[in-house]
Amino acid sequence: MEDFEFLRHITLGQYLPGDSLVHRLDPRVKISVMLFMTVAITFNVSYLANIILLIVCLSFVLLSKIPLGYILSGVKPALPFIIVLAILQLLFYGDAFVPYGTESRTILRWGWVHVTSGSVQLVVVSTLRFLQLLFLASLLTNTTTISDLTSGMEAMLSPFSRVGLPGHELALVGAIALRFVPILAEQLEIIMKAQASRGADLGAKGRLRFIQTTRQMVALIVPLFIDAFRRAEDLILAMEARCYVGGRHRTKRVRFRFQRADYIAYVLVLLFSAAMVAFRNRMPF
């Protein structure tokens, strides 16, 4: 089926308007919470820790008043893949993975199948971890507009400029990237349509699919990149014409101010995450 509409579906900010506590938090706080929690999640492999983390992430979701079903709906297409992967890990990984501080016991061995306590833990923990991060990432993008997200990012990164790190520049790169996604998506749609009009068969079938698709890809990617470079040349001139010379002398309009809730959320999550990391090897199970 030839349908080019999918390009219009690209929405980077899946912002859902709302007035919950989470919506109102300062974007810098939300990004920080995301970072702290991600660190905590990444370093915890025990059952208990991951159950605690999941409960915390779930409570964030409840606070945001975003329907849980909405967040989970994004996973649906990948579900069969996730299940197959989990079963493979469960049955065949055996000793491939041993969580810190535990000893892997064999639970079942039958031909190729080798189930150990380690692989069970791996499957359970990586599924929990996936859910935790999914909740966090969705929360961030569902409760924050793209512009708040980029301004928040810039506000957080800018102080690094003072010690010689390219914080401001990094934020600017991110903002430019986000700005050009819809523009380039539109351009890509036109390129695809123009080629389809000239008889290109997008989504070729048959044994030579790989070669055909690669050729097709060249025909799409080359004009897309050329267009992007051309736009970049324009933007470079426009930025220079507007006196851009890097972040050092710039000022920034004040956009955010911490409220009490922001301080509380920030400190609580920071302490919690630090504790989770500190005690990661001392969980009873």
Binding site: F6, I221, V222
Partner: protein, 181 residues
């Protein structure tokens, strides 16, 4: 000739190429079906390679980093919902591509482009799979299998695309060719 630090040019090129990486990731276009069980080869790392080659390792690294963040945020499978798998390895794609390109450029521009594309792609494949093994999502044997079935077609595609794009933009007359007609 090499300017240091962040010029306006580097910031903007990094921005638009990151946009392409995000775009390729957000559509099914970033995937090319390969004739193996593995399913799809990806070309989402190509912008990082091209950015590295054209504007230096910093630009290449940033594009990879931003591409990594997006594949992390948008991931719907556990493997890429892990920042150590999704983000960390991507930073190096453009960096290795750049140094390969610079090292070989004085011998032959054309060859340098091809090898840089191959090295950048390999960086992605090897590091992602290594991290996947380290973080316990894959057994080493499986990772090796995926590496071969994915890696080879990905390298081929990346080489073709990188040469086509860079040649078209720099208007280098690669080789002496003529039209088929």
């Amino acid at each position: 000739m090499e300017q240091k630090g962040f010029t306006v040019r580097r910031i903007v090129i990094a921005g638009v190429l990151s946009a392409i990486a995000i775009l390729l990731g957000a559509t099914r276009l970033g995937f090319i079906p390969v004739p193996t069980a593995a399913g799809n080869a990806t070309i989402m790392h190509v912008p990082a390679i091209i950015g590295g080659i054209m504007e230096g390792w910093v630009v290449g690294g940033i594009i990879g980093f931003i591409f990594g963040i997006f594949s992390f945020l948008q991931a719907t499978i556990p493997l890429f919902k892990d920042p150590l798998v999704a983000i960390f390895p991507r930073i190096f794609i453009g960096i290795t591509a750049y140094f390969t390109y610079v090292g070989l450029k004085r011998f032959n521009e054309y060859v340098a482009l091809i090898v840089a594309a191959a090295v950048g792609t390999l960086t992605n494949t090897v590091l992602v799979l290594t991290m996947a093994v380290v973080r316990g999502y894959m057994a080493p044997g499986v990772a090796l299998g995926v590496g071969i079935t994915h890696g080879i077609p990905e390298i081929i595609v990346a080489c073709i695309l990188v040469v086509a794009v860079v040649a078209a933009w720099k208007r280098v007359e690669t080789g002496r060719g003529r039209s088929k007609v």
